[in-house]
Subunit: 445 residues, 2 copies
């Protein structure tokens, strides 16, 4: 290999590697999400990264179309890389729902790609963790979606979060009453920006882009700015909804959601009726969710979703209503890092076994096996280097405990168990090493 | 949406969907592999699906180059989709090893793409589960690789498997002795086919493609066809290796591997010195592994790998030796299905909760929460349909137990817990439902 032939090792623009320090908490969040989804009966599926281009185009927005990675494959077929998990779910459901039956509850954890502008600090490859209940309009599915979101954060040891909930029917019904039914998309799109740009600019946009009067814009904003406890909000919304069946149905569903989530154990402070959230996407028709972290509201929603009327109308005449939500994995991970809730370690095993006495290789390996069979992960250093270098390696990787056994100690049948954070050391009979490790690891938790 | 505008829902040629029935065991295998890798201190990493084309081309074979999905991205850069996890690992190591330090132990579970000929029943998208130890030539890493493979199959409840092990140095050293050092690649490529095409055709290929004499081909085949216990093989190989330092070093390493894996608890019958395995890939230089299932040897190796001298020479002048192996997830899953070792269920939750009494929605949801908090997954049916239809759904999905509570039963505080496989039914006080479910699930295991 000559110098001149070497290729610079680098990742593609807009893409990144995940090193162990980041990948370990990332896997932890994914595992936690999967465990919660499974506990509610959501089943895993997977779909191809590549789809026929006609399946993917025109299903998101003009922007997703433009950002989609697309090319001709070896057989001359035009293909695209999936840009979300909803369009593949729609195609999947249209294709298999006869076999699967309804209600069909699935989760899907997978990578998606979008050729976004990287100047905004965005990556072009990211992972989504979606769950959906398809084939039912029952309120129980709406309630369960909120419960799953709540349980997810509880399982991630986050208690200070708010699921903001609204119902598109409330918005739609009231816009009808205000005489704005035909302009609802433009109005909701403006309303969705309330948090970001403030009431005046939203009013301006409603007047300019949706052609409302200043009074109409004021009515919509008054609705959006209602505040109070959930019970107070329900009373206020109920009054506003008088005369609109659609709005009343939406308010009734919100009332059921508040009541049932409480009965099922979701703390009342974690759910908040928020009439201003609209979710930009046109396809939501009922309950909608966004989730904010109490300590970092500024990063935006970390778990969003809602109810839709017809998932797969582009591919099948079968009518498939449903509800679901998507965990923003990378955003949540960034938030947890910022909040200092992520321990920086580079090893998934808590225990380090030093290799001290070269002639005792088989004994070290046998001990490592014994420790693992007791359920404790242990990394064995492969070379009998100087102990100092090995312990430095162990410290840098973030092991909790180190086991050191020298030549004499093999003779006498004892091991040194070191707590790396405090440098305290315990002399332990070899046979008791797994129990001691277990005890020290429990204490460290 | 008009009829005429509908798009046929179909997967791209050579690609497939994973429905829950297949995805559940697939996730189980992946989770098991990750758990085993982690218990040895291998840490997770991830790399992008897309790489600069120059990173990927010319690193595998002409075939992988030809099969690679490639295109120009929005910025006009030529990119390729990764076709394995080894080339990305090499690029990753070259880029980050200074920060990571050595030894560096990583696992990587990710999707790769190859535009293979689908007529051979191959898919163009599949998942690899690799683990590698980089930056050390120590025999401990070779031994640990064998132990990880053994532990992996044990954790998958497979005891009848054979890790076939060989050492390239034995082959290389003996080819030198036979005067065939300059033709080793062609000879090893022929030898690799021994299982598939038989001794005569291998001899023919050695003569035709590698230019050996018939006698030389005979010598190589005699080596490849040695049989006996590992101890007998070591004696025989040791005799053959006399006069070749390279071959002797290889035999010595095989001896250490046999001795240490036994000491560490790998049953002797799961490891077999097999001089005929050569692994087609040029970059292996020492210990090589293949793993066969005792009940299905015909499907080929389900976990293969070996030692290499220099992982990342194309990208860095740093010398990075290492050893690793790759679990053939899809092949293994197909094998387990063929052997009837995969239970066909479509739900990851064992318990089904029927929705019987519409006015009691909140009570059902509260009970479901209680069951989940006791660590048992439960799916609640979202609509108060006829019980027969609900139980049919539960049966079809593969739930183990169903909980049924009617209106009177809410009054009296009892539930019916049904074992779906046997139709036996237990009347249980509501407060004791989680304990009863736990008892019945333990009994079913």
């Amino acid at each position: 290999m000559t110098e001149t032939k070497r290729i610079e090792p680098r990742t593609l623009k807009g893409f990144r590697d995940f090193l162990p320090e980041t990948m370990i908490p990332r896997e932890w969040i994914i595992d936690t999400a999967r465990r919660v989804y499974r506990s509610y009966g959501f089943a895993p599926i997977d779909t191809p990264a590549l789809e026929y281009l006609e399946i993917l185009t025109g299903k998101g927005s003009d922007e997703t179309d433009k950002q989609m990675y697309r090319f001709q494959d070896h057989g001359g077929r035009w293909v695209g890389m999936r840009f979300d998990l909803t369009v593949p779910l729609a195609r999947f459901a249209a294709q298999h729902i006869g076999q699967l039956g309804t209600p069909f509850k699935r989760y899907h954890v997978a990578t998606v790609w979008r050729g976004e502008n990287t100047q905004r600090g965005r990556y072009r490859e990211f992972m989504q963790c979606d769950f959906d209940t398809i084939g039912t309009t029952a309120v129980a599915a709406d309630i369960e979606t909120a419960l799953v979101i709540g349980e997810l954060f509880r399982a991630l040891s986050i208690s200070d979060f708010t699921i903001r909930v609204n119902n598109r029917q409330v918005l739609t019904g009231l816009l009808e009453r205000f005489g704005l039914a035909d302009r609802s998309t433009a109005i909701l799109r403006a309303l969705d920006k309330l948090d970001k740009i403030g009431r005046e600019k939203v009013a301006d946009e409603m007047i300019a882009a949706a052609g409302t009067t200043a009074e109409q814009a004021g009515q919509v904003l008054k609705l959006a700015e209602l505040t109070g406890t959930n019970d107070e909000m329900l009373v206020a919304l109920d009054q506003l909804a008088t005369g609109s069946e659609t709005a009343q149905a939406g308010v009734a569903r919100l009332a059921e959601l508040v009541s049932a989530t409480k009965a099922a154990g979701l703390p009342a402070e974690n759910l908040k009726i928020t009439p201003s959230i609209a979710r930009g996407l046109d396809y939501y028709t009922g309950t909608i969710f966004e989730t904010f972290l109490g300590e970092l509201p500024g990063i935006g929603s970390v778990c969003s979703g809602g109810r839709y009327d017809n998932l797969a109308g582009l591919y099948t005449k079968e009518h498939l209503p449903g509800i679901g939500a998507s965990l923003g994995l990378d955003r949540l991970l960034a938030a947890l890092e910022e909040l200092g809730k992520i321990e920086k370690v580079s090893t998934p095993a808590p225990v380090f076994l030093a290799f001290f006495e070269a002639t005792r290789l088989n004994d070290y390996l046998a001990l490592a096996s014994t420790i693992r069979r007791s359920g404790i992960g242990v990394e064995f250093y492969p070379e009998p280097k100087k102990l100092g270098a090995q312990l430095k390696y162990a410290d840098r990787r973030g092991f909790k405990l180190a086991v050191v056994i020298g030549g004499n100690e093999w003779e006498s049948g004892t091991a040194q168990v070191k707590v790396l954070a405090t440098a305290e050391s315990h002399s332990v009979p070899l046979a008791e090493v797994p129990a001691k490790l277990s005890e020290l690891l429990s204490a460290a938790r």
